[in-house]
């Protein structure tokens, strides 16, 4: 006889519960609203020193362009527009959220030793890059409270893709 199949369960029960310690170790992302930012702080001055030592070889002096690309605007957008040149897409003129700078440096930089910076260093480097990009006052102490308050010039340009197929070319 052909009998009906076993009812598929709501849960299979495979896997183990994730402990709080496990999640603390693993959960290191940062959102624009600041959720995920760790304790600690840093300033642009501290960041400048770190940047020279750990970053400038790849991103150029002051982050203005090296073998792995610029991180800092070199001229105001207006000046570039007048000169007919297109501005490089860097933090100051393209990134919509300052928290992303912290998150990305912490997870991926320096490229040859990712995960090697402590959180204070990441705050300091973020402060350095944000102030070099003129989106933050160079004297401000960056921490979990101040970082999410920084407003990025390009933020209002971002629009989610609303294409849904169909004949239109966009």
């Amino acid at each position: 006889p052909i009998v009906p199949t076993d009812t598929i369960p709501g849960r299979f029960g495979f896997g183990r519960a994730a402990s709080a310690a496990h999640l603390t170790r693993l959960d290191s992302d940062v959102r624009p609203d600041g959720i995920g930012l760790p304790p600690g702080s840093g300033t642009a001055g501290q960041g400048a020193v770190l940047f020279r030592a750990k970053c400038a070889a790849c991103h150029g002096p002051g982050g203005t362009g090296g073998p792995n690309g610029a991180l800092v605007m070199t001229a105001p957008a207006d000046a570039l527009a007048l000169s007919g040149k297109r501005p490089e897409r860097v933090i100051g003129n393209y990134w919509p959220y300052a928290t992303t700078v912290f998150d990305y440096i912490r997870r991926a930089m320096p490229f040859n030793a990712p995960g090697s910076l402590i959180d204070d260093e990441v705050y300091a480097l973020t402060a350095y890059l944000l102030s070099a990009n003129k989106v933050m006052d160079s004297t401000m102490v960056l921490n979990a409270n101040t970082l999410p308050t920084i407003c990025m010039p390009a933020q209002h340009l971002f629009v989610p893709d609303d294409r849904r197929g169909g004949p239109e070319i966009r």
């Binding site: 992302d29 897409r89 919509p96 490229f111 390009a154 893709d161």
Partner: protein, 395 residues
């Protein structure tokens, strides 16, 4: 570890042995080589990807059918290929879920599994600029496999995703800790937690032992070496969905330009892979062959023009035509030997027809950059039968 990394390339170059040379004269008179544990590619075939520091392109002009051999699947890494021990591998799902859970590889394989043949394409998959460019160089960042894994929706049910969860973060275990925000709906629709490719375990280059696979969506989001999924109520705006993988576009109505974000779906595209540079053909009957695909569903039609786009003919589609999959198209044509241009265009089930580059740039503006370019790609057929790319410069 040059040996382990280099062996297939080496084997290609080992060439023919003395014993084999003897066989070549008349293989029917000398016993052949014995059966083995693992087959070899013929020493006469040189099938290689084209690597850069950050990517490696599939040799589309050398491939047949719709399956890409796993060792020729394109690569795009953001800090190299990690070596992940499957015995130590874990996938953690947490955030807006009722039961934050850690799954071992063995756990994942115990769940109900599914397989599907689907393409994966990098959204930065268009190069142009000189005549001597092959399909591999122009568009080699797309490949297709049969992927097997567990539906993400199965795992979502297992951990109890909360109704408030609208986005999830996928994080890789590589040195870039690649991170992307993805709408939860895609997880319920057709996302796969994949552990196999073309019948075997994923290759390291494609995320061994486990990757996310989002059918039809830009390759970067199908996070490789997947180690963590966090459910949340907003996107994270990671670097790969802000600084990268976004496109400057014209504002609707012509205001100041905008930056398009979260452009997930890969637009329908087709490409003639034969005849194409560096092939040389003879006059007479030519079967024009190529690939067509759409991230929005099924290919419904491919048209081929052999007169530089003045007229179009409907090509044959190799069955079965699968959802969000490379389709092989073929069109028989009698070439009279006069110089001409040949190209293809696809239409998908949403009614979208592949545009020219000019149409794309007109629509998006000249500053749009290199993501989501899916233009009609003409080949110039010279009277001597040589075939060249027609550079599509706009910057």
């Amino acid at each position: 570890n040059a040996l382990a990394k280099g062996w297939p390339a080496m084997a290609v170059q080992v060439g023919i042995s003395q014993y084999e040379l003897k066989l070549l004269d008349d293989p029917t008179r000398v016993p052949g080589l014995p059966p083995g544990e693992v087959g070899t590619r013929s020493a006469f075939e040189k099938l290689v990807k084209k690597p850069s520091d950050i990517s490696s392109r599939s040799p589309l002009q050398d491939l047949h059918g719709i399956i890409t051999p796993s060792d020729l699947h394109f690569e795009r890494h953001h800090n190299g290929i990690p070596t992940v021990d499957p015995a130590r591998y874990e996938l953690t799902i947490h955030g807006l879920v009722h039961r934050p859970t850690v799954f071992s590889l063995a756990d994942l394989k115990r769940f109900p599994s599914v397989s599907r043949i689907a393409f994966l394409e990098c959204s930065g998959n268009f190069r142009t600029g000189k005549e001597t460019m092959s399909p591999q160089e122009i568009a080699g960042l797309t490949s297709q496999s049969e992927w097997t894994g567990v539906k993400l929706s199965t795992l979502f049910r297992e951990v109890g995703v909360k109704p408030s969860a609208t986005w999830f973060l996928a994080e890789g275990g590589d040195a870039a800790r690649m991170t992307r925000s993805i709408p939860v709906q895609k997880g319920f629709d057709d996302a796969l937690i994949a552990y196999a490719q073309n019948g075997e375990a994923l290759r390291p280059e494609q995320g061994y032992p486990v990757r996310l696979f989002l059918p039809g969506w830009e390759g970067n989001m199908s996070v490789k070496w997947l180690r963590r999924l966090e459910l949340g109520d907003a996107p994270w705006h990671t670097r790969e969905e802000t600084s990268k993988y976004t496109e400057p576009v014209r504002a609707p109505g012509g205001g100041p330009g905008k930056i398009r974000q979260f452009s997930f779906e890969m637009d329908a595209r087709s490409l003639i892979t034969y005849p194409a540079y560096p092939a040389q053909v003879e006059r007479g009957w030519i079967e024009i062959r190529g690939l067509a695909w759409s991230g929005r569903g099924k290919v419904v039609r491919v048209e081929v023009s052999t007169d530089a786009g003045r007229s179009w003919q409907v090509a044959e589609l190799q069955q079965p035509v699968l959802d969000k999959a490379h389709v092989r198209f073929r069109h028989l044509w009698r070439w009279d030997g006069a110089e001409t241009e040949i190209c293809s265009r696809v239409t998908d089930e949403t009614g979208y027809t592949q545009p020219t580059l000019k149409q794309l740039i007109d629509a998006r503006g000249p500053d749009t950059g290199g993501y989501h370019l899916n233009p009609i790609t003409p080949w110039v057929l010279k009277a001597d039968g040589r075939v060249f790319h027609k550079p599509q410069n706009w910057r």
